[in-house]
Symmetry: C3
C-alpha cells in the first residue's frame, strides 16, 4: 500500500547498494530502527551520486534544498524497505535530525527540512508525524547540501 | 510539586502555541519521549519571539547564552506539561543535545549548555541528571543563539 | 574477553575521573545506554587533556583525525566499563553520532569517523556494527578535533 503511494509519486525504490565499511544503514533495538545519516543520493546511481552539493542559500537554492531533504528521505525509505518485510510494518516516525549545509548567515533551516517532513506525512499520514531538530552545519560529507538521520518505530 | 518548584523560580508554564506543520513537539515511543529541538522563545509570546539571537561569544555574551539554554529547557517543559498528565510523570531525563550558535573560535560550549543542565537538576534532582553532548553550529533556525533537543523517560 | 582484546591493542582502561556538574557520562533507559559526547582525552591524564585540538584538514591531519575518533571511542569504553559489570554485557552498538571540527571546505568526515567504527568492529565483531551519522562542526568544546556520542544496547 505504501509502495502504491510511492509509485503514484513516480518513485520506485530499488535495492540499495551494498555498504562497504564498519557501519550499517539500519540497526534495530527493541521496536526502534536507527537509520544512518542519509545523503541526497540519486536513485539507482552506481557508484552513488550526491545530487545536491554545496551550501543551501548559496550554490543551492532554498527550493533545491527542500528537494535534497526529500531525496534523503527517499533514500531512507529505500533502506527501510530493504530491511523490513514491508514499509507497512512502520508504526511511526519518531525523530528526524536534519543537518543543513549552509553559511553562517542562513536562518531558514526548518523550511529546508520540511522537504523531508512533508513527504513523510504525505505518505504515512498521522504515522508520519515526527519530532525533529534542524541545524546548520558548516560542512557535510561529500559536500552534500543536506543530511538527515531517522528513528523509526516498527510493529513487533 | 514540580509546578511549585517552577513557580518558586517565577516561571509559569502556559499552553504552547499550536504547531503548524508536519512535525510535532513530542513523540512517544515505549516509555521514551523525544522532544523536538527547542529555541529560546519568550514565554507567552505570540507569534513566537526568539529572545536570544546571534552568535554566543560575539553578539550574545556567555552569560546570556546560558540564559538562552535555560529558556530552551523551559520551553521543553511547557511542551512536556502539555503532553503529560503532570510533569511529575517524568521518570528521568535521558539525553540532551545542545547546539550552540557560535563562530569557529568558540570553545566553551559546555558552559553554555550548563544553563539547561543546572535547571533540570535544580528542578528534578537525581532524575534531572542526564547524558549530554554540546557542539558548535555555524547557524541555527531564526538565528537562535542556542537549540536543544531532549529525550525523556516517563512512567508507564 | 573484551578486556583481553583491548590489552592486545596496548589499551588499559583506567577508572574515569569524577565528572563534576549536572550531567553524567551514561544514562540507562530500558536496555539502552546513552553515552555523553566523548572527546579525545589522553588516557590517565588528570586534569583531562584533550590530545587532538584544532580543525581536521588544517591543524590536524586526516590520519590524526582518525586517531582522535578512535580515542573518543576508547574514552567511551572506559565509561562503559565503569558503568557495567563487564564490557561483555554489551549486546550491540546502536548508533554513533560523529562530530568533526573542520572548516567549510572539508568533505571527508566519514573517513575520520571510521577511526571509531573500525575499532568497534575490531573489538566487538558483528555486535560492533552500528548505525551512524558524520557531520562537520565549525567548533567543538575545548577546540577538540572530534566529538562522538554513542547509544549502546546491553543485556537485561
Amino acid at each position: 500500500m505504501l509502495e502504491q503511494k510511492l509509485n503514484a509519486l513516480g518513485i520506485t525504490l530499488q535495492r540499495p547498494p551494498k555498504v562497504i565499511g564498519s557501519y550499517t544503514p539500519i540497526i534495530k533495538t527493541g521496536s526502534l530502527l536507527f537509520v544512518s545519516g542519509q545523503l541526497p543520493i540519486e536513485l539507482g546511481s552506481n557508484p552513488p551520486n550526491v545530487l545536491y552539493k554545496g551550501k543551501v542559500g548559496n550554490e543551492i537554492s532554498l527550493s533545491n534544498g527542500k528537494e535534497a531533504a526529500r531525496l534523503c528521505t527517499i533514500n531512507a525509505l529505500m533502506h527501510l524497505k530493504d530491511f523490513l518485510p514491508s514499509l507497512d510494518n512502520i508504526e511511526k516516525f519518531v525523530k528526524l535530525t536534519g543537518y543543513v549545509n549552509c553559511d553562517v548567515s542562513f536562518t531558514n533551516h526548518p523550511e529546508v527540512i520540511n522537504g523531508a517532513s512533508d513527504l513523510l506525512v504525505h505518505l504515512f499520514g498521522q504515522k508520519g508525524r515526527h519530532s525533529r531538530v534542524s541545524v546548520g552545519l558548516s560542512s557535510l560529507p561529500l559536500n552534500s547540501a543536506v543530511e538527515i538521520d531517522f528513528i523509526v518505530e516498527v510493529g513487533t
